[in-house]
Symmetry: C2
Subunit: 348 residues, 2 copies
Amino acid sequence: MRENVKVAIWGFGAMGGGMAEMLLTKKGVDIVGVCDRHETRVGKSMFEVLGVEKGDRPEVIISANIEDVVYPGAADVVLCATDSFTKSAFPRLKYCLEQKINVISTAEEMAYPQAQQPELAKQLDEIAKTNGVSILGTGINPGLIMDLLVVILTGCMTNLEHVEAKRVNSLSPFGHTVMEEQGVGITVDEFDKGVADGTLAGHVGFEESIAMIADAVGWKVDKVETQMKSIVTDVDRKSPHGFAAAGNVAGVNMTGQGFVAGQPIIDMIHPQQIEPEQVGVNTGDYITLKGSPEVNMAITPEVEGGLGTIAMCVNMIPQIINADPGLKTMLDLPVPRAIQGDIRDRIK
Amino acid sequence: MRENVKVAIWGFGAMGGGMAEMLLTKKGVDIVGVCDRHETRVGKSMFEVLGVEKGDRPEVIISANIEDVVYPGAADVVLCATDSFTKSAFPRLKYCLEQKINVISTAEEMAYPQAQQPELAKQLDEIAKTNGVSILGTGINPGLIMDLLVVILTGCMTNLEHVEAKRVNSLSPFGHTVMEEQGVGITVDEFDKGVADGTLAGHVGFEESIAMIADAVGWKVDKVETQMKSIVTDVDRKSPHGFAAAGNVAGVNMTGQGFVAGQPIIDMIHPQQIEPEQVGVNTGDYITLKGSPEVNMAITPEVEGGLGTIAMCVNMIPQIINADPGLKTMLDLPVPRAIQGDIRDRIK
């Protein structure tokens, strides 16, 4: 049998750490290195940071230098969980590809970098091909819920006229960083200022999801519009890592539209907030496809974002190792699937 | 630009005819030939049989001889809508592959022929490779609802423990053949006799769906059990092509289990009947995945089976033309997607 699949992890926050925890439960795979720059983690054992028994596994000491972790032959794939944007991730992704190692990126924009960074996407494709490896961006959303799942459901339609993808989710499971990024707890004035000056990120991914759906079905999108509004709470809301007093912001309502021939035919609706249950909001993922036959899908409650992203990245490891060289998207590869058996059985 | 994609159709019943109707609404594709043995169709214009204006399209006369329709260079793909079982479809599929033409089959067992006909699957793979073409079986179910859609949803899970796929559908849109195959309108005694002597087919596909899911996630299935029970109606039920008097059979409840290490961890539940609304049964497709995170999906009402199968077969045309030679399954290929633009844009 072939030797274990070797995985390196770059970025050991909630996502990178979660991927390590998941990988440690799987057969036929070893974590061979971790790079992270956070002072509380550098120089420590990965197992200690995770709070997982090392058992008879080889030690993995977290390094701040990527050269110690990612070099030719070091791994079959690098999971890169460091960025949200293609531009900021680019130098890291390029570095890994040039070491001739396949890459899976959690950067939201990398789920479909053709949408907002076509030039960087082209460069990544060329660098990957030159080095005989492949690169994929994925996650729960973008990556599955508001794009790939939409696409696969259109597959049972003889004619598609309109797409609505709606993800109503709770931010309560998330930590301080997400609270800040989404504006939880701030005043409405602060929120509006953050939107105006671009310091509030909100959800990153509508441009990517819309382009992925449109390219998949063959629609030419003329323009994409997005809106970002505060969700103001009438009552105090408290989550493990967030608090919004009555009158302040409990979350963000993101909406977006992809226009084809002047009509908004791809509608994205994505309100995210802490403690939605407290005000009677039922969370869920909803896809409504108009055309023939119509498709009306609901996943209730919504697929949990953190675990979902961790799973998508890890579960796509075999597909990216098996792929032809180049930049890949979820549209190009065989479907994601849980890994319950030995990962080696899936490597061609 | 490359020339139009050329499609031949073998079998011009509800499925083959429906695929032709769908293809006639699409850009960049021509139907180049139709083979059908039904006396009411042989020798007639395809357009006349469909009741569609020919316009300036070339005439297509339906032939009873496959040699007139499928020969080297005749088409890029043959849609073969003639059978439910791999064994009966095999000589036809072999013939097409030997003409060096890609094939998409509607035969339910061909959605995963490895399940019940591994030797024939191996032969099809070899014949396809020898001739440099590829072959796929697909449809709404098996093909999407109780298998591929399950698989893709497991992709967002870090751990999968149990699968339940439930399809509660109406048989009312279907014609006389389906009424007979599913036992609609017969007595309970007749139904039980039909089950015992194997003349009642019921739903074909549980073995295939279970094997597809298990192989995808890496479970080893020790055994598959299936059950087939009559759905007896308390009231008279009448559909366009079916009638069940009170006390007789309105449909069939198919159930199946895939056992892993002695436990039934893949559960399939598929009651089909005419006029379910009349007795308060809400139709829908339901997938419940236990593990982490849990996924609880519903499509209501169910995706219509006839249109769904037509769409899946037509929408997979680009993927099977682009595929490497050999026998493919929905697990191997990029996801299905509606074709709204020019099909030629999707051919590599």
